[in-house]
Amino acid sequence: MGYLDNSVVTVDAILTKKGRELLARGDGSFRITQFAVSDDEIDYTLYNVTHPSGSSYYGEAIENMPLLEAFPDETQIMKYKLVTLPRGTARLPILNLGYSAITLKQGASLAITPQTLNYLGSNQTFETNGYTATIADARVLATFNGVGINTPEATALNQTTTLGTNVSKTVIGTSINLTATTVNTLFGNTTQLQTTLTVIGRDSGARIIIPVTITKVN
């Protein structure tokens, strides 16, 4: 992974692993319809409001930083989306899953019901359009689906099957159901499988990532 030449502003574009999978599937699911922007790699603690040269230089350290090339793993990029909120917003929405980490034994199930804090004037709320949940390695779960949202895209995602490869899987719902895999061969010589679960509020854009660990039973 190299750095991009930042002497001129260029754009380095690639398909993600998921994009290649959907392109290969050839069922029309590779259809770009919307975009989001993110500030991955930016550390806002570098924003120096005490810069002696004044406010034009507050962001100097950030604006001159070199950026890395794009990663093809869709779970490793677009981590921190920019969101559209009314001017004057002092507190941004954040997600609460009720768990900071998930550990499941083989075959065990868990239901997660995310909540959004600081959103629409409410301390704690469920988003109307639900939540998008992405498991980074779909193999570690025997079932992974979302319930509570009955839109066509939610239905399509919840019915999508990805077998045998370590690509991500995304579902939509107000509640997310997980069941750990029972397949022993995935473990190899280890006793644990680890991946991450990313949950994003579909209305607020708030995002949280937590680690998921599957432990071998026998």
Partner: protein
């Protein structure tokens, strides 16, 4: 909130022709030619030789093209079975190219008005010619003894492109850069020097033409047409002629389909971030100055389908400042 739908005119598909030298060296002209010492003893060696730009055992060796010899009577190679006359690797190749190029099992190869029952084949490696060869860029020197032939296709001379079962077809003539030196550029009595078939990456060299006398426009090339000829003999002769000529120029052409995507970020959009360094654990903005004048830095544009699945990403080379007074237009090109 964090996704914005593209409008109809934000997505544009464009197809652009791209051309470049065929050879893996990146140079327009290939001047060195190598074969593998193991191929003659293999089964494929009875049919064709692969030609490399460097020693075949070197790590950067890549097949540039294959050389073969085809003969309707099966001459120029030993028969598969001595009891079956005329059935040999060369007759197999003749039938293969007759099907591929003529599409008629009764057809004959006609080179510039003259029928020939044997020819040499230069089949450019698929990785090299991509989609098609670019007419007018074929320049090949063949040297035998003290005679050198400079061959090209006649694409610059013809006003109407001919087609057969292999797509576009041009005559191979004496000349350069798609034009004959004089007249048709054919031999005196043996027709053209071959057929240039850009759409399948194949060049057929008319055996009769190269065999004709120097005065007749040929090389007095010694094609062997007996049934006792060891199979690779003629291939080796043509390989030696190409190697002695030491100049083979060819360019490929392919159409790159690109999708241009215009991500338009308006002044009121994307001015807050979910970046953990932007907010505290409770969601408060970490930098108080930003409550009334929020600023963000765009580094990445993600492109999604309706299911919010991330299909493609575009990374900016440096962070782009965004606030309520700025708009951004990012043009992204995806090649397929």
């Amino acid at each position: 909130m964090s996704f914005k739908r593209f409008e109809a005119d934000d997505l544009v598909v464009s197809a652009e022709p791209v051309s470049a030298p065929v050879w893996s060296t990146g140079a327009p002209i290939l001047t060195t030619f190598f074969t593998s010492s193991t191929q003659p003893s293999s089964t494929s060696g009875n049919y064709f030789y692969n030609v490399y730009q460097t020693g075949s055992t070197l790590s950067n060796a890549a097949i540039q093209f294959s050389l073969a010899y085809a003969d309707a009577q099966g001459s120029g190679s030993s028969p598969f079975n001595s009891a079956v006359v005329g059935k040999s690797p060369t007759s197999t190749l003749y039938g293969q190219y007759r099907t591929l190029v003529l599409g008629d099992e009764e057809g004959s190869f006609v080179f510039g008005g003259v029928t020939s029952s044997y020819f040499y084949v230069i089949a450019v490696d698929r990785d090299r010619f991509k989609e098609s060869l670019l007419p007018g860029t074929f320049n090949l020197l063949l040297t035998s003894g003290s005679t050198t032939l400079r061959l090209t296709d006649n694409s610059a001379d013809v006003t109407t492109v001919s087609y057969n079962d292999a797509g576009r077809v041009y005559q191979v003539v004496s000349g350069s850069n798609g034009s004959a030196y004089s007249g048709t550029g054919y031999t005196v009595a043996s027709g053209s020097y071959g057929l240039f078939l850009p759409d399948i990456g194949v060049i057929l060299l008319n055996g009769r033409a190269v065999d004709s006398s120097v005065a007749g426009g040929g090389l007095a090339f010694p094609t062997s047409r007996t049934s006792t000829t060891p199979t690779p003999t003629n291939i080796t002769k043509m390989y030696d002629a190409i190697r002695a000529g030491a100049s083979f120029q060819l360019t490929y052409q392919e159409t790159i389909s690109s999708q241009f995507i215009f991500a338009r970020v308006r002044n009121s959009e994307f001015n807050y971030s979910t970046n953990p360094s932007y907010i505290t654990g409770s969601g408060d903005l970490r930098i108080p100055n930003m409550v009334n004048a929020p600023q963000t830095y765009i580094t990445t544009v993600g492109m999604y389908n309706d299911n919010n699945e991330l299909l493609a990403v575009a990374k900016l080379s440096r962070p782009l400042l965004k606030d309520f007074t700025k708009e951004a237009l990012v043009r992204i090109k995806l090649d397929f």
